[in-house]
Symmetry: C2
Subunit: 326 residues, 2 copies
């Protein structure tokens, strides 16, 4: 493999000159730069990335901390981050934190030891004080933390109002909500949207709210209980995974979806089109969110000015068979 | 932040001695080692990982190349690799190759420039010659390449025979197969298992084989076509995603699953339990496969002896409602 010395020799310049060209610092005249670049190309010289890292304290690597890649919301998000980072020549270290603050802190330490150039966080176990101390560029994705940090989120509150209103519009009057984990901000925002819409419709009843924890099995259990003990004609589940649980509960009780009970989820993950009946849902632009966070992070790393650092993306109601009444 | 000099000063030794303790090479007496370790702990000293990388040509990072993390088979596999690597204090760089040989080669170059300690490949676009040249420890996961490389795969051929035989056992006689991509080894192995079982049963008919390319929509289309033009009473889909496509086609034609047409998939991804009826399938131990590949790679990196380097894990038939006839 060619070394920096080979390049210098072929170009007829010093090693220091080649280094200046590579790192784009210090003066090098145009003609010399051209000769060095030709030599690099001719020899297929690849600079030692680790040495460059040490010199520049950069690794062309970023860290991406997600709660759990096997939660079906995250693969598409991770894919988008990796696609965009690949375009800008960064690699992505993936970390699963399981929503545990300790594990997040540990990963952040490890990532800093690897000199990552930036971190994308899809978490909210850390306080804003802890995140501010991270000391490399950070972008927050999916879960807002604080206005001082660049972030990309979708409009959870509005989406939840739309879903609730949609159930009302097709005739539902006893609309239950299956809620995500109470410590996850987007779950709370969706609950708030549901509650405010129900209040505005004059239908608010706190007995209609059940904790499903973004978990299919738990959502199925609480729905079975709810359908057997209360008269319910509509269910707004805080995510699609829980909506599948609700659907399974209704089917186990031989109820017709949507005519006995209509169901709508949230996220529009591929799963929502795979059930029978297919699930109505609120579509988050998942890929777009990941791609936008990645581009924001590149801009921050490269010191470019960021015109707008808080992005709240619109969501969209998708009506499918689970809310199409005859 | 504490430096190596601070540690040396506190322990009353030279920087070179601290370095020998850190890198565990050269002689250091027990008492001195103890003092150095106490100083490291007391100062909460974190060795500069990048400098260590340069010195030792190691980064405590591995590369994991998958076709596409948003394919529902891979999140659990990736999660398993990351969990095990985290235990051994390695981080994981995730790469999506889209089954493109060029992209795989490009990623391997990038990973080598980052001095990864090893690579896990879940791909077969590269030839064994190309993989042998990689020059860092490699473990092949899910897709066998060659007996000279450590690998973890599941027994695709046997699994396919079991699935086909199961459809026969519940009374199916015209059993179609929806096949995965022809260039993917596990898809070919599953086809071979189906074909050999059908031959043994005296039911082989090449007209009953359709290309679904591991794609839900294509699988749905070919199933619609097959159900409308041929008399078919059973379908073995080469993976669960295609089985969902087949199920949707049957439901669109108002056929009863399993009584008009029984359907079985392959993989046992979470999705297979989310449909109605739930899908029978052949269960691959996905998490176990990822974890085993990760442990094999750690052993290779650390130069430990590997007793067995070829692992073919058993699979299991899971019967659910899509093949439970009345």
């Amino acid at each position: 493999m060619a070394t920096i010395r080979d390049v210098a020799k072929l170009a007829g310049v010093s090693v220091a000159t080649v280094s200046r060209v590579l790192n784009q610092n210090g003066y090098v005249n145009k003609e010399t730069e051209k000769r060095v670049k030709q030599a690099i190309e001719q020899l297929n010289y690849k600079p030692n990335e680790v040495a460059r890292t040490l010199f520049k304290k950069t690794s062309r690597t970023i860290g991406l901390i997600v709660p759990d890649i096997s939660n079906p919301f995250f693969p598409e998000l991770v894919r988008a981050v990796e696609d965009v980072m690949n375009i800008y020549d960064y690699t992505v270290i993936l970390c699963n934190s399981d929503e545990k603050g300790e594990k997040e802190k540990e990963y952040i330490d490890i990532l800093k030891q690897r000199y990552v150039d930036g971190i994308i966080l899809t978490t909210n176990q850390l306080t804003i004080g802890e995140v501010s101390k991270i000391d490399v560029p950070v972008v927050v994705l999916d879960r807002p933390l604080d206005h001082s940090l660049p972030s990309v989120i979708a409009n959870n509150y509005e989406g939840a109002r739309m879903a609730t209103r949609h159930l009302y519009d097709i005739g539902c009057r006893r609309i239950a909500h299956i809620q995500g984990p109470l410590h996850v901000v987007n779950a709370v925002e969706r609950f708030n949207g549901y509650r405010d819409e129900m209040k505005e419709l004059g239908l608010w009843d706190e007995q209609l709210v059940f904790l499903g924890d973004y978990n299919l099995k738990l959502a199925k259990e609480v729905t079975l209980h709810a359908l057997q003990t209360l008269s319910i004609d509509g269910i707004f589940a805080g995510n699609d995974v829980m909506a599948v649980g609700a659907l399974k509960a209704a089917q186990q009780l031989d109820l017709d979806v949507p005519n006995d009970v209509a169901i709508i989820g949230y996220d529009n993950i591929p799963l929502s089109e795979m059930t029978t009946p297919e699930l109505s849902t609120v579509s988050q632009p998942i890929y777009q969110m990941g791609a936008m966070a990645a581009r924001l992070l590149v801009k921050k790393i490269e010191g470019q000015s960021i015109e707008q650092s808080q992005h709240k993306l619109p969501v969209q109601l998708i009506q499918r068979k689970s809310t199409m009444r005859e």
